[in-house]
């Protein structure tokens, strides 16, 4: 139980899984060793040695990187150290583990008598253990990345179903049912469209710019019923760009911030402008409002942090988000998104 307190939460399961895998690979390794290193004793001896080496190499590399995560610089979510720490781990930890394993094997099964001596055994064991480490490393990174992408998508979905927005909309709807049934119906239709697109986006990874626009139009229509004349919208999206694919509901945080932090706090309201254009291989999207402008801590706005994270995970440094003052007489804020153009595969003519 002491060991558990040294490990980061949730690490024990992965460690156990990798230990079992390392031990399970020992029998075929022992068989391989007999084939490549002639002169070895019987299969039982080779298996004992192989198990000992597997165990020690696993302890040095896998357990070691968790226990020494502080000095190696290994960080969540996958705890594989950055290049310097990795060099240390593979250059010192792995050989030390392999040597300890060889020693343990000799202790248990007697001295080895293979052709080429201890050097050949060490080289062979090191090669096998190194290969396994590389496989674990790349799998660990991939799984961690996939989990992060999924978490970012869920966070985005949660933000789209902002309870404040939802219940204010329902309250307005309730008021309209009594006073203006046709408008209540129109609002309900918009709400249905909005919810359908939001839930759809939780399943689809990407959708077209046209679909993104339709969804935002529903959202803006709902907000317009609530805010009345205080909110106006202007679009500038060339028809040629409509089929371009982008992560579903990517613009949501930018549009919501423009309304919530820009236009809603301004007694006389304002306008939101959404435009897209192509710049070389990049898609450039601008979301601008004429609201109250930027407070000091604007860069930390939850939605933008999340948007940035989502783009980073999907496109790395190829995409960017910038928030700035709109910089003209009308004031307000401007969010500029750049991401690699992703056109759908053109359907081939029949």
């Amino acid at each position: 139980m002491r060991l558990r307190t040294w490990l980061p939460p949730g690490a024990a399961r992965g460690l156990g899984r990798r230990l079992l895998l390392a031990l399970a690979l020992a029998p075929p390794t022992a068989w391989l060793a007999q084939a490549v290193l002639p002169g070895a004793a019987g299969y039982g001896t080779a298996l004992t040695r192989s198990l000992a080496i597997s165990l020690c190499a696993w302890a040095a590399v896998d357990l070691g990187r968790f226990l020494l995560r502080g000095s190696l610089g290994a960080a969540p979510p996958h705890y594989w150290p950055p290049p310097r720490g990795a060099a240390l781990l593979l250059g010192l930890g792995l050989p030390a583990g392999v040597l300890a394993g060889i020693a343990l094997g000799e202790l248990l099964a007697g001295p080895s008598a293979v052709a080429g001596g201890a050097g050949a055994v060490a080289a062979f064991a090191l090669a096998v253990a190194g290969a396994m480490t590389v496989v674990f490393y790349s799998r660990g990174r991939q799984e961690a990345l996939a989990r992060q992408v999924e978490a970012a998508r869920l966070a985005a979905l949660k933000a789209q179903l902002d309870p404040h927005m939802l219940f204010n909309t329902l309250a307005t709807l309730r008021a309209l049912i009594a006073t203006d049934p046709p408008r209540a119906t129109a609002m309900l239709d918009r709400l249905v469209g909005f919810l359908r697109a939001t839930l759809g986006a939780s399943r689809a990874e990407t959708h077209s710019l046209a679909a993104e626009r339709a969804w935002i139009e529903d959202y803006l229509a709902l907000m317009q019923i609530r805010l009345g004349a205080r909110l106006t919208a202007r679009w500038d999206i060339p028809t040629a760009l409509e089929p371009v694919q982008l992560p579903a509901l990517l613009l949501q945080p930018a549009v919501e911030n423009a309304i919530r932090h820009g236009i809603e706090p301004k007694p006389e309201g304002g306008r939101i402008e959404i435009s897209a254009r192509r710049e070389g291989g990049e898609l450039l999207i601008r979301v601008r409002d004429t609201g109250v402008g930027l407070p000091a801590a604007a860069q930390d706005r939850f939605g933008l942090v999340q948007l940035r994270e989502r783009l980073r995970l999907l496109h790395g440094s190829a995409a960017s988000v910038a928030l700035a003052a709109a910089g003209d007489a009308e004031g307000g804020a401007l969010v500029t998104l750049r991401l690699p153009m992703a056109l759908p595969v053109a359907p081939s003519a029949p």
Partner: protein, 264 residues
């Protein structure tokens, strides 16, 4: 005796303001409604001008949110009139819910159900019926509002030097030298022993970047560095007058923050 009770609704969405007014008209026929206020600043002005018996405050409003508006109303309320009973209205605000769960103040969730509104009205009528004398009622309101936590500032780094621009020159003022910060429209006045500067930052944005141990908010528009306060004198109205080291002027702490100046 004044005629009947009067209420003020603060809500930035006209449809929702009208719906609440209609709901109140149905379950409290004797209540007179003042014209609804569309934002926090308007509700403060209207409340002080018309002195309603009840305020229905939306939490999220332009300019001044409902909680800040309630604070401001109680701060500036005359001490010889009973303060209004405050009812907060919110669509979904976990922080507001948390705050009011422990409090005697009422809150309503949007959409406001008829039955829930009727229960709120019954409670308000009961409280208006046995309203205590103004000063005690005001103390109660202060105590209740003080228990409402202010929203936490998110990751704002502490300020060590104030950069105050005056035309072409930027003055660097170490925060230790600042005696007080006073809100002035869209600016904040930064006052030191020698002179004063203007910075284009709201007090609300500035406050989370100051050390709360050293800089005390004593009024919604005033933050004083504690070690520069020489003495505090309590007035009958509940306000506290502060004299400073190195400045001739007297500052006023509101009753909302008077608890900071009790003797040890």
């Amino acid at each position: 005796m004044s005629p009947g009770p009067r209420a003020l609704i603060a809500e930035d969405e006209p449809l929702l303001a009208a719906a609440l007014a209609a709901g109140l008209a149905a379950c409290w026929p004797g209540l007179a409604l003042l014209p609804p206020a569309p934002d926090g600043a308007a509700v403060l002005a209207a409340a002080l001008a018309h002195r309603p018996d009840v305020c229905f405050l939306d939490i999220r409003m332009p300019r001044l949110d409902g909680l800040a508006a309630a604070h401001a109303i109680i701060e500036d309320w005359p001490h010889d009139v009973p303060p209004p009973l405050m009812v907060f209205v919110t669509a979904h605000d976990e922080y507001a819910l948390r705050a009011f769960e422990a409090q005697a103040l009422d809150y309503l969730l949007k959409p406001v159900e008829h039955g829930r509104l009727a229960a709120c009205v019954a409670r308000l009528m009961r409280q208006l019926g046995d309203r205590r004398e103004p000063a005690a009622a005001l103390d109660d309101a202060v105590a209740q509002l003080r228990a409402v936590p202010a929203p936490a500032a998110v990751g704002a780094p502490r300020l060590h030097v104030i950069r105050a621009q005056a035309s072409e020159v930027v003055h660097l003022v170490p925060v230790e030298e600042v005696l007080y910060f006073a809100a002035a429209d869209k600016y904040v006045r930064v006052v030191t022993a020698e002179r004063e500067h203007l910075i284009r930052l709201s007090l609300r944005d500035l406050l989370p970047r100051l050390d709360p141990q050293r800089f005390w908010q004593v009024h919604r528009g005033l933050v004083v560095q504690a070690r520069h306060i020489l003495a505090a004198r309590r007035e009958e109205t509940g306000r506290v007058l502060l004299t400073l080291r190195g400045r001739p002027e007297t500052l006023v702490a509101s009753r909302m923050f008077a608890h900071l100046f009790r003797g040890m």
